[in-house]
Symmetry: C2
Subunit: 304 residues, 2 copies
DNA sequence: TTGTAAGCGTTATCAT
DNA sequence: ATGATAACGCTTACAA
């Protein structure tokens, strides 16, 4: 019978089946953008375990548009997706937190769970799962590393406010400074968006005013690459004249000249764990995965 | 009424709706792996236009497992996905082509269209859409560029057979040689998988036997990076002593030292077009998008 | 305009 | 075991 049906080209209607509440529910990965290994690595890791469990994995981007984010969550709820992974840096306003909480409630109503990935939990909502990694610890370790190399005048390059990733990493910078007894000086903050070219020109403008700065802690590897480019263009040799450290441990940064010292973020582990929870592994509350400072050639003893 | 329903937390059941044949059908992106900017860029581009049209975008990887690929296609057909994008290098056997053709038929039976992306059309099946880019043209342009710089002994680094991408790019190498009147010599073929470390050790073993080779055309940027690493380790200076060219134009290769000459592949355009076809833009048959040789610092005049 | 009934392709239940 | 039937939540058609 079944064989005959197959010959006839019969394919069960999974929609009707899902409507009856049978069959594995899909998993959706929602992020602002899908660019760079950051997201791709998390998505790939989650996709792997989800697909292996016979579920479908959806990829959705919001491009930072709140409207679209809401519409997406709504659409995902309509499709009765089993799990929604909300991934990456989050707006930090209280209104934004409330919006996320509303998503969680609205999704819960149709039996879908929300998991925050690469972003911190929502205050007073311990029921909303979060898988984050130690942004602050990574940056403070980077600062400690530079301090140990004799650096005292350490700039921070990147935005410091508005998004969770920015705030957490910047907090790590402050923490590192505090731990070393170095007073914070907002004069050596280079507030720039997460883009190599933007970072390059910001650093170019910054350098003449601050010849005493010997080290640059960057929000991301992207920013660090722009900074390095600009530093070299200004005639500085890396790492003899200036040290640079990034964050993310993007592929290829080990092949740059000099190889970039950076903080390795556990993107694969975050995606993997998120996927496992999505397919049913028990998990309660939140977790913060450790990061690792990868010391390479772009950081060295402070000059003079 | 609608407002009241919303207050109550009512969410329409999209499954029931889809079952009635209304609502936009989803799009699935199927590739062997989801690693590297190659796939991520295509996926991101396709996802963007698909999501903007109010459809859901699924990401599925096969990890090169034919079993899993079949199961995935079946699963996608069951879910009545609107379009399946089969992306990236394909096995080149005739049996494999027949399998793909069977997918197309099986999907067509439930109203799903199949679009091949970054791989050539299936022989004698012009009805199966294909969006590919000019692998061979890119590599032959690279060879022509090296020849113009005075190189005569040009090695090819990468696998040459078994997968469509490998075969097409290798064909470009042969074409480039032919156009320059340089006889093909399989002695300067470095058959190695697409991995920097593997490429590095293969080149390390190759170099001593072939001191006359002055240029290396690589299957991918990945391979080129490994080759460059190995060349430098052997005491050769790039590009004075040896030229290297890659393929893909991966982000960051412009920031390597020396910046890598490579073939820019139109991943964004492929994904974008695939997405547009998936949401209804008319398209018949196949297209081969042009590539562009990006000349950077890793290629220079032949030594002596 | 508002309401009622039929149908979509499954699964589950109950009877045969 | 096999077979008929209700139910899932929606859309469409037709009736009031």
């Amino acid at each position: 019978m079944i064989a005959a049906a197959n010959e006839l080209g019969y394919v069960v209607n999974g929609l009707a089946r899902s409507m009856m509440g049978v069959g594995r529910r899909s998993v959706a990965f929602v992020s602002a953008v899908m660019v760079g290994p950051t997201f791709a690595t998390m998505a790939a890791a989650a996709e792997r375990v989800v697909t292996e469990d016979g579920r479908l994995f959806m990829l959705c981007t919001t491009h930072g548009d709140v409207e679209r984010e809401s519409a997406l969550i709504e659409s995902l709820a309509e499709q009765r997706v089993g799990t929604v992974l909300l991934v990456g840096s989050a707006l930090t306003g209280q209104a934004d937190e409330q919006r996320i909480a509303a998503y969680a409630d609205s999704l819960a109503r149709v039996g879908t769970q929300l998991i925050l990935c690469g972003r911190p939990p929502i205050a007073h909502r311990p029921d909303i799962a979060s898988i984050d990694y130690d942004h602050a610890g990574g940056v403070s370790a980077a600062v400690a590393h530079l301090v140990a190399l004799g650096h005292r005048r350490i700039a921070y390059v990147g935005a410091t406010t508005g998004m969770s990733t920015e705030e957490q990493r910047f907090r790590g910078y402050r923490l590192g400074l505090d731990a070393a007894g170095i007073p914070f000086d907002e004069d050596v903050l280079v507030d720039v968006e997460n883009d190599p070219d933007a970072a390059a020109s910001a650093i170019a403008a910054f350098l003449p005013q601050h010849p005493d700065v010997t080290a640059f802690v960057c929000l991301t590897d992207h920013v660090a690459i722009g900074a390095g480019r600009s530093l070299r263009a200004a005639g500085l040799k890396l790492p003899e004249d200036a040290s640079v450290v990034g964050f993310d441990d993007t592929p290829l940064v080990a092949d740059l000249t000099p190889a970039l010292t950076t903080v390795h973020a556990p993107f694969r582990e975050v995606g993997d764990l998120a996927g496992r929870i999505a397919i049913g592994e028990p998990f309660n509350g939140s977790v913060v995965l450790p990061v690792e400072l990868i010391v390479r050639a772009s950081t060295d003893r402070a000059p003079r």
